[in-house]
């Protein structure tokens, strides 16, 4: 049983109803045949504003590349690409409403899902109802994809693959690894990751000595951290969003937890995590769906190599791209590839082309399974070492060895 009082939410809805909602972007009426219109409800304000901005930024970069090439070629003719974006203000219900507007008012040809498994689940229901193909680039929970939807496809790999490879890797690096404490946020993605890790650990012969969830509005972890300290695990595995993980890592240190391995999913994948923790971030491990150190070549789309995407991104934004940027740009590549394969914007044909997708992008291979999730991914394990984020696994792209926290 979870209950939280966040006074903003109900009143936000009331305000939205009164017309405070702000829509951004274009609002075309009926799209011409030579224009591929992509609809995207984005969290540009509210709690997920940073993540929504990442999606918007990388799609802008992607669109610039497409426009520089004069558009995309479909059935021998040039086709332009346009995005229609609305700010859903990090309100899941609003995301669903705007997705419906994108489909019925703006007549978009395809949808891009917003950030996170929870909101993707909401928008996916709309896409399915109207039979509009939808690409989800930041949703990895299997529970999003196990609803029997035919029009939903995701570029992230399932969470379970991430936890199994992590257990295997840590056991190989630390053979005396016997116990783990699992502490996860009660949200769609963090809960799925915590559950998957606990299952993978037990299957891998590691005893789970603490396994609890925390509620969404938790602003203190001291009681949980004290219980973890009493259990004295070799490995602490915590999931949540960046602000939760910053607080959790700080309290682990303050309350004397000395486990040699601390994993925070997906903390170190974000620059905000290391900046918010300073030296306390050192040694924290995580898994991520993509790292720019990967080196794919001969990829489809405007970036034929991982390096070329990295260079363009660095030039445009002055910082390193993370998995959100990589996955979302690749989702756009996949979409264009499907339209080209289908030879038109016909939604059913594009859907079938997406289902048959088996391509290599700069982000890695994309091969959708029966449930629409990408099956073709080997996910890196990363660790903060000093001020840098190093790749520990897979061996092909590793640039450091696992360092224990002292």
């Amino acid at each position: 049983m979870v209950m939280g009082l966040n006074l903003r939410t109900p009143l936000q809805i009331a305000t939205l109803a009164c017309g405070f909602a702000v829509a951004v972007g274009m609002s075309p009426s009926v799209a011409a045949d030579d224009v591929l219109v992509i609809g995207a409800p984005l969290a540009l304000t509210g709690g997920l504003a940073d993540e929504g901005k990442k999606q918007q930024d990388v799609w802008k970069l992607w669109l610039d590349k497409i426009e520089a090439a004069g558009g995309i070629t479909v059935a021998g003719k040039k086709m332009q690409v346009k995005f229609v974006e609305y700010d859903y203000q990090t309100d899941g219900k609003r995301a669903g409403q705007l997705a419906e507007k994108l489909v019925t008012d703006d007549n978009v040809d395809v949808l891009m899902a917003p950030f996170g498994s929870g909101h993707t689940k909401i928008v996916a229901a709309v896409a399915e109802r109207y039979q509009v193909p939808m690409l989800a680039c930041v949703a990895s929970s299997v529970s999003v994809y196990d609803q029997g939807f035919k029009y939903l496809f995701g570029t992230l790999a399932p969470n379970t693959g991430m936890t199994e490879s992590m257990v295997e890797f840590f056991k190989a690096k630390k053979p005396d690894l016997k116990t783990v404490a699992v502490y996860g946020k009660d949200g769609v993605f963090p809960k799925a990751m915590a559950t998957a890790l606990a299952a993978s650990a037990e299957a891998g012969g590691i005893e789970v000595v603490y396994n609890e969830l925390y509620a969404a509005d938790t602003m203190d972890h001291s009681s949980a951290v004290s219980a973890i300290k009493a259990a004295d695990p070799d490995w602490v595995y915590m999931t949540g969003y960046t602000q939760d993980l910053i607080l959790g890592r700080k309290q682990l240190a303050e309350l004397g937890v000395t486990s040699p391995i601390i994993t925070m999913v997906t903390g170190p994948a974000y620059r905000e995590f290391t900046e918010g923790l300073g030296s306390l971030a050192d040694g924290v491990t995580s898994a991520t769906w993509w790292h720019h150190a990967t080196a794919y070549t001969d990829a489809v789309g405007p970036w034929s190599t991982t390096a070329s995407f990295y260079e363009d991104f660095k030039t445009a934004f002055g910082s390193d791209p993370d998995y959100v940027h990589g996955s979302c740009a690749a989702a756009a590549d996949v979409l264009v590839n499907a339209v080209q394969t289908a030879g038109s914007k016909d939604k059913a044909a594009v859907r079938d082309a997406l289902a048959a997708t088996d391509i290599l992008t700069f982000y890695g291979p994309i091969d959708f399974g029966d449930n629409g999730m990408n099956q073709g991914r080997e996910m890196p394990i990363i660790q903060v070492q000093g001020e840098a984020v190093k790749v520990l696994y897979p061996a092909a792209i590793a640039d450091a060895d696992l360092a224990m926290i002292k």
């Binding site: 209950m3 304000t45 940073d50 969830l213 607080l247 309350l255």
Partner: protein, 286 residues
């Protein structure tokens, strides 16, 4: 020893909760205004402290008086020029106005500062006594809560403005007839609430990540603490905060962190039924 650590965790956390609630309780109790801006005031105080530290190297403790005073001025202006226009209207009107103002402030902060969690990484360490661990920054927050409570208590009891605030709360018309400038007193009161929020934000910038995501959480906590501790009583916020902190800490350890917040709400509901004025509230303020 575990239980001692849990109790200490709860008391220290409760003191931080009290920091959140003191200003909110004052404004609600005296002005009968449910200040929906309160959570955003705390986060604004946190952001200002963070930027003062990041760009000018100012220690959060040194910055605290300036940040809190800045928030006081902001609160005074908002009350004097906006909320005073509707302060005698039903509580839903003032709630809607402060909610609208909060939406503006919240989104301005998100636009200009982004929702990226930021923290003053000035880790002050931990006081270690045997097997007990007490984070210094939280102890500092506890000290601040106690000082603010004592200061506010004294201001309300012995100062001229404090007596004027109490008089206005008791009978606005009589206070006007006695020569009290009611609108000014309202603005001062709201300003004090914002001052408390700014001070809490300055300390919180070292303890919690500062992000606009937390404004609603802070507001929710303030609401619960006021109901538990009681309105119209300065020590009520402190008592309510510590009570909530202890309950959440014990519940988190014994029945799991997932249920800790729920237990706090159950306590609030029970109190609403059996003692609507709260643990230390003043009758007539419920």
């Amino acid at each position: 020893m575990d239980i001692v650590q849990i109790l200490l965790n709860g008391i220290v956390l409760g003191s931080l909760y009290a920091c959140i609630a003191i200003g909110f309780s004052l404004v609600w109790g005296v002005l009968n205004v449910i200040n929906m801006l309160h959570g955003s005031f705390i986060i604004l105080g946190g952001y200002l402290t963070f930027f003062a530290w990041q760009y000018f190297g100012i220690n959060p403790i040194l910055a605290l008086p300036f940040i809190a005073t800045t928030l006081f001025c902001l609160g005074y202006v908002l009350q004097y020029f906006f909320i005073n226009k509707v302060v005698t209207a039903p509580v839903l009107t003032t709630l809607t106005l402060t909610f609208g103002l909060d939406m503006i402030l919240y989104n301005l902060m998100t636009v200009f500062f982004t929702a990226t969690p930021r923290r003053v990484t000035l880790d002050l360490g931990t006081l270690n006594i045997g097997d007990l661990y007490l984070p210094v920054d939280r102890l500092l927050g506890m000290g601040l809560a106690l000082c603010l409570t004592a200061l506010l208590f004294l201001v309300m009891r012995v100062s001229k403005i404090g007596r004027a605030i109490v008089a206005v709360r008791m009978d606005r018309q009589a206070a006007t007839l006695m020569g009290i400038r009611v609108n000014h007193v309202y603005a001062i009161t709201f300003g004090i609430g914002a001052f408390m929020a700014g001070a809490a934000g300055a300390v919180f910038s070292m303890v919690f990540p500062v992000t606009t995501n937390l404004t609603g959480v802070f507001l929710g906590k303030a609401f619960v603490i006021c109901v538990i501790g009681g309105l119209g009583s300065v020590p009520g916020a402190l008592i309510g905060g510590i009570a909530l902190g202890l309950i959440e800490s014990i519940a988190g350890y014994t029945i799991g962190p997932q249920n800790a917040i729920t237990v706090g709400f159950v306590l609030m509901l029970v109190l609403l039924v059996i003692r609507p004025s709260g643990i230390a509230g003043v009758k007539g303020y419920e």
